[in-house]
Amino acid sequence: MNDPVEIPPSSRRGFLGLCLAGGGSFGLAACGPGEVVCEIGNWALPVKPAGVFFDCLQMSVMSDAANLIVGEGEWPTADDAQVVTYLDQIFGEWAGPDLKMRMSRLPEHLDNFAVQQQGRAYVQLDQEMRSETLSRYDAAAFADRKDEANATYIEFKSLVLKIYNTSAEANRDFVLVPGEYIGNLSASEHLELVRAKALDFAG
């Protein structure tokens, strides 16, 4: 296991400078890992407290993006599945120094794009605009995977999906010990078996 790596402050300073240049005016002076004080007066997105590894800006932006990626409907949200909370918990010991650096800059990349597209920082956009911005960013990222910022987003999305898809919340019909394989069942026969054997059947 490697040692947790401190993220050099230059990335956040750069981020702040960029946002200010683009018209953003939110403050982050006291917001670091383990701290919960963010100057969030003009944020439009739900604020998350700083985590073990990520600061409150990173936690907030990543949680928002994860929720938009997973979407809302008749299924658990990324927040329900604690996706970014889990990512934050493991990131210090799981990720390597390069990935830590890259992922810490994700809000900065999103913000650059938001400023370019909408004239405002990502955190200042309302939900509809954030969804539209992320959707465009997603399309642009997959169209040019070699760009470092795009590659970082794709890595983030991959992690979000892996964590979500392996969460208890997204696997309420998971059968740990099926006991048998039957390859040709009707929907009702299948449902009956899952209902009988799933760990936490959700219907």
Partner: protein, 576 residues
């Protein structure tokens, strides 16, 4: 369980994997005092290292291998096997950075290893197929490699023996190129596979699609009861270790059977660096091993020595046992030690949607897929290559309830993408038989050594034009099979025609100490006994003279059991 009280044995078995386990069991049951030396750590069965009872959300890091390992160039080759590179069973695979080997920069070789008691038998794919006489005839027929000195009839009773003990599920399919065996009840096909198989019986009767035969117990199996092995629970978590012991491994079956005799000693954490040769007697007298813990060296004596370290490690060991009488390696008077390295190769195939079954579902996670045995033993009109290929694959259900794989789109758009198309999609992947090439070689690296000062094994191998042509035909055939099977939206999987054919991707590396009748062109005889040294045996994949298309482990097991009894006979008769 390490023991060093005794250093004199009737037999020494180097390696505790699938073949070492069989040799140990058979020799112990014949009454010989046997030492098994394993370079890796001890594992009990069931082991605290098994993770098979953890739900996906309970797995450390959710099964994602720590990213920092990749950043530090660890597990360089295993990372390419994305379906295997999982954190929950990473402990059962070797990190190349800890146990390096070498290859030319432009000809990489993928060597997947497992250094623990039980070796790769913990993580093998468990598919078990008898080879047919056509496989044993291949070298003689087209003149490549060393002709096999044995045929199907020589091995048939030994196939039966190992199947009856291991517990192999399957159908008696009555296919010439894939002899039937002693089977437990087969796994069922899915509705989609059944439909395609039925269509192929009508449309391509020479290319049957059958359910795979595998070493997972499908029913109560009396020979396994003594070792507490239970019926497979369809969890598909085999590589994480199986607390039920439902799949065959040396850890769950052969080593416990050997222990029951009271004749087995196992020493773990001991890397055998060389075989000791006595020039006066013209026999081997034992092996020298390095204890991993402190680097100290120990010599173990035995009347016979079996090398079952895994094909390449057995070859490596013979090469590193070079001496004044055998400067190019022990048992290498032919000069063929290290030659004819082979592997099954693939890279091509196809996938297609299966229409009409959107209301049919499968329950459980079957530990084996379908199998299309080699139907190209005889050269067909469209073949511009020698030998043939088969297919493995399965029909998968689309998962509508979760967002799909990482691709463009967010939210509803991402979910919709995962839901497009029929419920079932069938995939086929080619398994080709490569030709044995004498210059596909393993050798000792001239300058690089491992942490013990042993020269690294250097692999210089690749598939050639024959394999590339076969791979191209494999993609065409896969499309044809799926189309004839009734699939729609069939997508061909075909690499660039000249793309490098890397060996080791199927983890079926074999050859290097090939079997043959002629001591001038082969390393071992038909009984896995080295031509040069009567009491030295090799009975893992190193002895394979050709690679066939069927998964080779069952043949390794049969060869090993047969060789062990032959060695015991010779010892009893005072001939060793």
């Amino acid at each position: 369980m390490s023991a060093q009280a005794d250093t004199d044995f009737d037999a020494i078995v180097v390696g505790s994997g699938i073949t070492g386990g069989w040799v140990a069991k058979e020799l112990c049951e014949r009454g010989l005092k046997v030492l098994v030396l394993e370079r890796g750590r001890n594992l009990d069965h069931p082991s605290a290292e098994y993770t098979d009872f953890e739900a996906p959300w309970e797995l450390e890091y959710r099964g994602m291998v720590p990213d920092y390992l990749a950043e530090n160039d660890r597990y360089e080759m295993l990372r390419r096997k994305r379906h295997i590179y999982r954190n929950e069973h990473r402990q059962f695979f070797v990190d190349d950075a800890e146990h390096p080997y070498s290859f030319p920069e432009d000809r990489p070789f993928m060597w997947t290893r497992g250094y623990q008691l039980g070796g790769r038998s913990l993580t093998w794919a468990r598919q078990c197929y008898r080879w047919s006489q056509k496989d044993f005839d291949a070298n003689r027929k087209d003149g490549h490699g060393s002709p096999w000195p044995i045929g199907y009839e020589d091995l048939a009773p030994w196939y039966s023996k190992v199947e009856a003990f291991a517990g192999i599920s399957g159908n008696a399919d009555g296919i010439d190129s894939l002899p039937d065996g002693e089977f437990l009840k087969p796994w069922g096909m899915s509705a989609a596979e059944d439909q395609i198989a039925a269509n192929l019986r009508k449309e391509r009767p020479d290319r049957p699609m059958i359910i795979g035969r595998c070493a997972n117990l499908t029913e109560d199996h009396e020979p396994s009861n003594a070792f507490g092995r239970g019926v497979c629970q369809a969890r598909s978590r085999c590589s994480s270790g199986c607390a039920y012991g439902a799949y065959f491994s040396s850890l769950s079956a052969t080593l416990p059977a050997a222990r029951l005799t009271g004749n087995l000693t196992v020493v773990t954490d001991a890397t055998v660096e060389s075989v000791v040769y006595d020039a006066k007697q013209r026999k081997v007298t034992g092996v020298r091993a390095i204890q991993s813990v402190d680097g100290s060296r120990e010599t173990y004596s035995g009347k016979i020595v079996f090398l079952n370290a895994g094909s390449l490690n057995s070859v490596h060991l013979l090469m590193n046992s070079q001496g004044a009488q055998h400067p190019s390696g022990l048992a290498n008077s032919s000069g063929m030690l290290g030659a004819y390295i082979m592997d099954h190769f693939g890279g091509s195939g196809a996938s297609g949607d299966v229409p009409g079954l959107d209301d049919r579902y499968a329950f459980g996670r079957r530990p084996v897929g379908i199998y299309v045995p080699n139907y190209r033993h005889e050269q067909l009109g469209d073949a511009d290559f020698l030998r043939g290929f088969g297919f493995q694959g399965s029909a998968q259900q689309r998962k509508n309830e979760k967002p799909g794989a990482n691709g463009p789109g967010i939210g509803e758009e991402l979910r919709q993408k995962g839901q497009k198309g029929p419920r079932w999609r069938m995939s086929l992947f080619m398994y080709g038989e490569m030709l044995p090439y004498e210059d596909n070689r393993a050798s000792l690296h001239k300058t690089k050594t491992d942490k013990f000062g042993i020269p690294l094994l250097h692999m210089d191998c690749e598939g050639r034009d024959n394999e590339k042509k076969m791979r191209a035909q494999g993609a065409k055939d896969a499309v044809d099979l799926l189309t004839a099977g009734g699939c729609v939206n069939v997508r061909e999987i075909a690499p660039e025609p000249d793309a490098f054919v890397m060996l080791g991707e199927r983890t079926h590396e074999m050859g290097g100490a090939c079997m043959g009748a002629d001591p001038r062109s082969s390393v071992v005889n038909g009984m896995c006994q080295t031509h040069d040294i009567a009491n030295l045996f090799v009975s893992d994949g190193a002895v394979m003279a050709s690679c066939g298309t069927a998964n080779p482990s069952l043949t390794y097991m049969a060869l090993s059991a047969r060789a062990a009894h032959h060695a015991a006979d010779l010892l009893q008769e005072g001939k060793l």
